[in-house]
């Protein structure tokens, strides 16, 4: 929040420069977002007094003035004919800089010397809220008591800093000038001057004016009301509106300005009702009826329900409690009696109503953070003091107080707790002096610390809160690093699953693939692009308040984001893409969610400028690094992949993924014009098939025998089926395809598979006839099963 330093100085003496002040505020926990000097753009402008005025000899519309700038008389030419001798006005001297960007220099105007320029309000960056008459055009006439020769910034109130302070969510008390002043006092070791809350009550009794009935006590902890009669609605003095201007508010009228002033100064949102609009002399604080309508100050109609709190008279709701007053009961020029409300509304209630209606205000922002009844009472008194100070009416007698006024709370704890949490000891006298600075009166008796915490510090509830107060003022620089010397030794490490995933990443990096990280969500349009089948949005876990529709559905496949990334990379001329991601898909048992969904880890691998076989080897090598189970590849019907150039991978009969060339339609959707291979591995499944412990096997003692075969077969015969027939034999150690040949000689739709089979018996040297016997059996089987025959030489 933005607060002028001058306002803080009402309550505490600041005897350090603004930078030091800010450093000290940061050190105790107030983050300074920005420091703005209001006079930054107005330099070398002084208060001068006009001593002589004469007509410009060469220009009818100009006047030549002689002005006193504090012991020196200088000539100024002006075109403002309203200036009079003895007027005090701002004059921008040679080298001056003005708020509207003008730079002033000495010169001659139509032959007459002019050593500067008189300024209007706009050139000083001020308006009528900040200085009397500053709303009028032309040269600004200053007040009679302005000191001739003085820097104009002091005179018009812009010799001031506005601090933009970010207050943590627990310190609602610091959303006010007074609260910040208390912190500044603690930081500087000063005492706070409490705000003046004195006023004299008139004869009219508050109780005669109005009865207050709080029906919703559960969401209205305190309600305080007092009236003002003989109201004179008018303009507020400039000292008040100037402060409001510096926090970004306009002056409206004295009574409304007072409520705004108290909101910023004390942190208490106030409301002023025009008494004439309160029907039945009654204020009722109640839950709204279902469907009840209210029109607050913004003029729009809102429909309420019984979770909303309203302020009503005997007929109708006159305001949305804590959020906005009603349009029907606001202060008008003719208002002559006013009721001031200062209350404490449940923050959850204000928050929910505000969020539901999309209605927020300075008041509701504070109520949402919680305001206690001590501040309710203080704020109301301060407002009444200001009423008296501004002479805008007579305060009624007696205050309607519903709810208890919060008192100091006592917290007792063991002093050793401080060192136990902080790891350092703070001397007793330091403890006492720090807490005293924070208005937490404290005694220490042996190890027992007793603290009396002021009611506005409702963030302090127990020992650790006091410890925090101590250390933030004592200084965090006193904390010296240690490495848990007094704690137990524990065994650390990653889970086995994480270690395996690290291993997979290592393998893929070794295969030259680069790791990607994507958002785990996307939009329906992207999911549709990545599939040749329609997408049923209802199957997806959906974010109800996404940044955009394109970021709203949780992954059910890693392909969409990966393919989008490939498409982007290709559009930037990146070639030979080798990408992978370890991500998750989110599968719900039931939608809308009734329990946490299954978050399944997956691996996506994608490559361009690669053929199927090379990609297949990369994928299999990755899978192989995890498991030694039997792998089987079968044709895949995955909707993102080319049906003829894709496979499902099963390990020990469990499907653990699919891979292949992306479907031409999908490729077209993503404008991918090069060969692109994609694999998705279901890590959750694969991780259950991890290799068992490794067991050493001695090398074979007997030699192996290898035989090559060339088979002629139909194009669609799977080579692995043929190899498997060999591998099923007990004496076959390995069987591998080493060449595939196609050619006219073989005939259309035919291919030749060249296979090497290695035979070995671990107990003896194999003899040819044994091998022949085995081979003959296999050849017969594959001929029967697949129609595959040895090629005629």
């Amino acid at each position: 929040m933005k607060i002028p330093l001058s306002w803080i100085k009402d309550f505490v003496d600041v005897d350090v420069d603004v930078q030091t002040l800010c450093d000290k505020m940061v050190a105790i926990g107030l983050e300074i977002e920005d420091v703005a000097y209001l006079g930054e753009n107005v330099t070398n402008v002084k208060v001068c007094q006009i001593k002589e005025i004469s007509q410009h000899p060469n220009a009818e519309r100009l006047l030549c003035c002689k002005v006193d700038i504090g012991g020196e008389i200088i000539p100024i030419v002006t075109n403002d004919h309203r200036v009079k001798v003895q007027d005090k006005v701002p004059v921008a001297l040679h080298g001056a800089k003005l708020a509207n960007g003008l730079h002033i220099s000495k010169g001659k105007m139509r032959g007459e010397e002019s050593w500067g320029m008189f300024c209007g309000a706009e050139e000083l960056g001020i308006n009528g809220d900040m200085y009397p008459n500053a709303d009028t055009d032309g040269v600004l006439v200053l007040s009679d008591d302005a000191a001739v020769g003085a820097d104009i910034r002091g005179e018009v109130g812009i010799d001031d800093y506005v601090l933009d302070i970010s207050v943590t969510a627990n310190r609602q008390d610091c959303n006010s000038v007074l609260g910040l002043a208390r912190e500044v006092a603690a930081a500087l070791g000063k005492t706070v001057r409490e705000p003046n809350v004195e006023y004299t009550e008139g004869d009219a009794k508050t109780n005669d004016l109005v009865k207050v009935d709080v029906l919703a006590k559960d969401i209205c902890k305190g309600y305080f009301m007092q009236g003002v009669t003989d109201v004179k609605v008018g303009k507020s003095p400039v000292w008040l509106t100037s402060r409001l201007a510096k926090v970004g508010l306009h002056g409206i009228n004295n009574l409304v300005d007072i409520t705004n002033y108290v909101l910023y100064e004390i942190g208490q949102p106030m409301h002023a009702f025009d008494y004439a609009d309160i029907s039945g002399k009654k204020i009722i604080v109640r839950r709204a009826f279902d469907g009840e309508k209210v029109v607050p100050l913004d003029g729009k109609e809102y429909t309420l329900n019984d979770n909303d709190l309203v302020i009503a008279d005997s007929d109708r709701a006159v305001g949305l409690a804590g959020i906005m007053g009603g349009a029907n009961s606001g202060i008008k020029a003719e208002t002559n009696c006013v009721l001031f409300e200062s209350a404490s509304f449940a923050r959850m209630n204000i928050r929910r109503t505000g969020h539901r209606l999309g209605l927020r205000s300075d008041s509701s922002a504070r109520f949402e953070k919680g305001i206690e009844t001590y501040t309710n009472n203080l704020g109301l008194s301060r407002a009444l003091h200001l009423v008296e100070q501004l002479g805008c009416g007579k305060v009624t007698k007696g205050r309607i107080s519903i709810g208890e006024i919060a008192q100091n709370r006592i917290i007792k704890f063991d002093k050793r707790r401080i060192a136990k949490l902080l790891g350092i000891r703070i001397p007793d006298e330091k403890i006492l002096s720090i807490l005293h600075l924070l208005n937490i009166e404290t005694t220490i008796d042996g190890n027992e610390v007793t603290c009396s915490v002021p009611p506005y510090r409702d963030d302090i509830g127990r020992d650790c809160d006091i410890v925090e107060e101590l250390i933030r003022v004592y200084g965090y620089d006193n904390i010296k690093g240690t490495l848990m010397e007094k704690s137990h030794i524990t065994c650390g490490g990653k889970t086995e699953e994480e270690q395996i995933i690290d291993g997979i990443k290592n393998v893929l990096c070794g295969l030259r693939y680069n790791e990607c990280v994507f958002y785990p969500f996307a939009g329906k349009a992207l999911y549709e692009k990545a599939s040749t089948e329609p997408i049923d949005e209802r199957e997806y876990i959906k974010i109800v308040n996404p940044i955009g529709e394109e970021l709203s559905l949780m992954n059910r496949s890693l392909a969409p984001n990966m393919l989008q990334c490939v498409s982007m990379n290709l559009s930037r001329n990146n070639k030979n893409l080798r990408l992978y991601e370890v991500g998750k898909v989110y599968i719900a048992d039931k939608l809308p969610l009734e329990s946490l969904p299954d978050e399944q880890k997956r691996l996506s691998v994608c490559a361009t400028d690669i053929d199927f076989d090379e990609f297949r080897r990369d994928v299999l090598q990755t899978v192989r690094s995890v498991t030694d189970g039997k792998i089987k590849l079968t044709r895949s019907d995955n909707a993102a992949l080319h049906p003829g150039i894709s496979a499902d991978i099963a390990v020990e009969g469990v499907k653990v993924g699919h891979f292949g060339k992306i479907h031409p339609q999908v490729a077209a959707n993503f404008d991918i014009q090069t060969d692109c291979m994609y694999a998705e591995i279901y890590l959750d499944k694969l991780l259950k098939l991890v290799r068992k412990e490794i067991e050493y096997r001695s090398f074979p003692k007997f030699p192996s025998v290898s035989r090559d075969f060339a088979f002629l077969c139909d194009e669609d015969i799977a080579a692995q089926d043929v190899l498997d027939e060999f591998l099923n034999l007990p004496l076959v150690e390995s069987a591998e395809l080493f060449d595939v040949y196609r050619g006219e000689r073989l005939g259309a739709g035919k291919k030749s598979l060249a296979i090497t089979v290695v035979f070995r018996d671990k107990n003896k040297t194999l003899k040819d006839d044994e091998i022949e016997k085995q081979c003959a059996k296999v050849l017969r089987v594959i001929k029967e099963k697949y129609g595959v025959a040895l090629r005629e030489q």
Partner: protein, 337 residues
């Protein structure tokens, strides 16, 4: 041929011999089964018996000399041959390009680095669900429904009860319900907030650290963070605590490190302050411990949450968080060197 003739012819031929194969031929010619020396020895039967021993000795002497000469010559030729071979066998060895190894994503690099440090200190690495309950993400962390701290984080909701976790702190209560102190854990993972600009991404990574044991103090938190900072940014890195607020820690601190760019002197990266804010931390709020059935009088703890991208951006000089999620291969490859 006489001995002398043989010797002369041998000496002449061996002098002209230039290859091992030639040498082999000479060996056969002179020492072979049908070689000159064998023929000479066969002629011994033509001599008178008393001459035979002298002749034999001479022939043997010659044989010995020849064998020695062959051996020497063989060595000489082998050396020559090797020299020739080494002179002739040459490749251009100047090319320096090689296939790049694939790279880990910078998020993983930082995560791994921090995890490894923490593992060495006895921390267990755990991960939790990204779709979380309101309870673990907020309530168990002392952030009830109406708490203004909820405004600190714009939350993505799935339903009233389920949401995308806004912080890895959501793992705190999950772990503490299951395991009892002493506890040293870190939880790296994705977190989600409804925010999107050059320094905010709706998805980013955090590493939560949590220690609960007897005698854990704020000094231990500082020491741990100093250890991490020194390892990530160099031993001269200093750690500064500033007071802050998190509902689940008390006291709570923002943690600044001396700017790794300027070493603390002030530069544009640290906005001339010499410090860079990198994480939030604090002593575990006793409410959180008690919520999980841990006696807050006996045990204390600290917790911290490191923004992984933030650390990576500082460490590698990455200017825009969106680069992490764009996955331009030219970006990715830079982290594989």
């Amino acid at each position: 041929m006489t001995i002398a003739e043989i010797q002369n012819s041998f000496d002449a031929e061996i002098a002209n011999c230039e290859s091992l194969s030639q040498l082999q031929e000479l060996k056969v010619k002179y020492l072979g089964k049908s070689g000159a020396l064998t023929a000479l020895l066969k002629s011994i039967k033509d001599l008178a018996p008393e001459e035979r021993p002298t002749f034999g000795a001479k022939v043997n002497e010659l044989r010995k000399r020849m064998e020695d000469t062959f051996a020497l010559k063989a060595d000489e030729l082998a050396t020559k041959e090797m020299t020739r071979r080494l002179r002739e066998e040459r490749v251009d060895i100047s090319l320096t390009s090689c296939p790049d190894r694939g790279a880990l994503h910078p998020v993983t690099l930082i995560e791994n680095r921090i995890c490894n440090l923490m593992i060495a200190m006895g921390f267990e690495v755990l991960s939790g669900p990204e779709i979380e309950t309101d309870y673990y993400n907020f309530q168990a962390l002392n952030i009830p429904y109406d708490h203004p701290a909820r405004d600190m984080q714009d939350t993505f909701y799935i339903t009233d009860r389920y949401l995308l976790r806004t912080q890895t702190s959501a793992m705190q209560a999950r772990v503490m319900e299951r395991k009892k102190p002493p506890l040293k854990i870190i939880c790296p993972g994705k977190v989600f907030r409804s925010d999107n600009d050059a320094s905010h991404s709706p998805v980013f990574h955090q590493i939560e650290g949590l220690v609960v044991d007897k005698n854990i103090t704020l000094c231990d938190l500082k020491g741990t963070l100093e250890y991490i900072a020194a390892n990530l940014f160099g031993p001269q890195t200093k750690v500064r605590f500033r007071p802050s607020f998190f509902p689940f820690t008390e006291p709570s601190v923002e943690v600044d490190l001396t700017c790794s760019n300027c070493g603390g002197k002030g530069c544009s990266l640290c906005k001339e302050t010499g410090w860079i804010e990198v994480l939030g931390a604090g002593m575990v709020n006793p409410y959180v411990l008690e919520n999980c059935g841990i006696d807050s009088n006996k045990y204390s703890g600290y917790a911290f949450g490191i923004g992984v991208e933030r650390v990576a951006m500082i460490k590698y000089g990455i200017p825009d968080i969106r680069l992490f999620y764009e996955n331009d291969q030219r970006f990715l490859k830079q982290f594989g060197k």
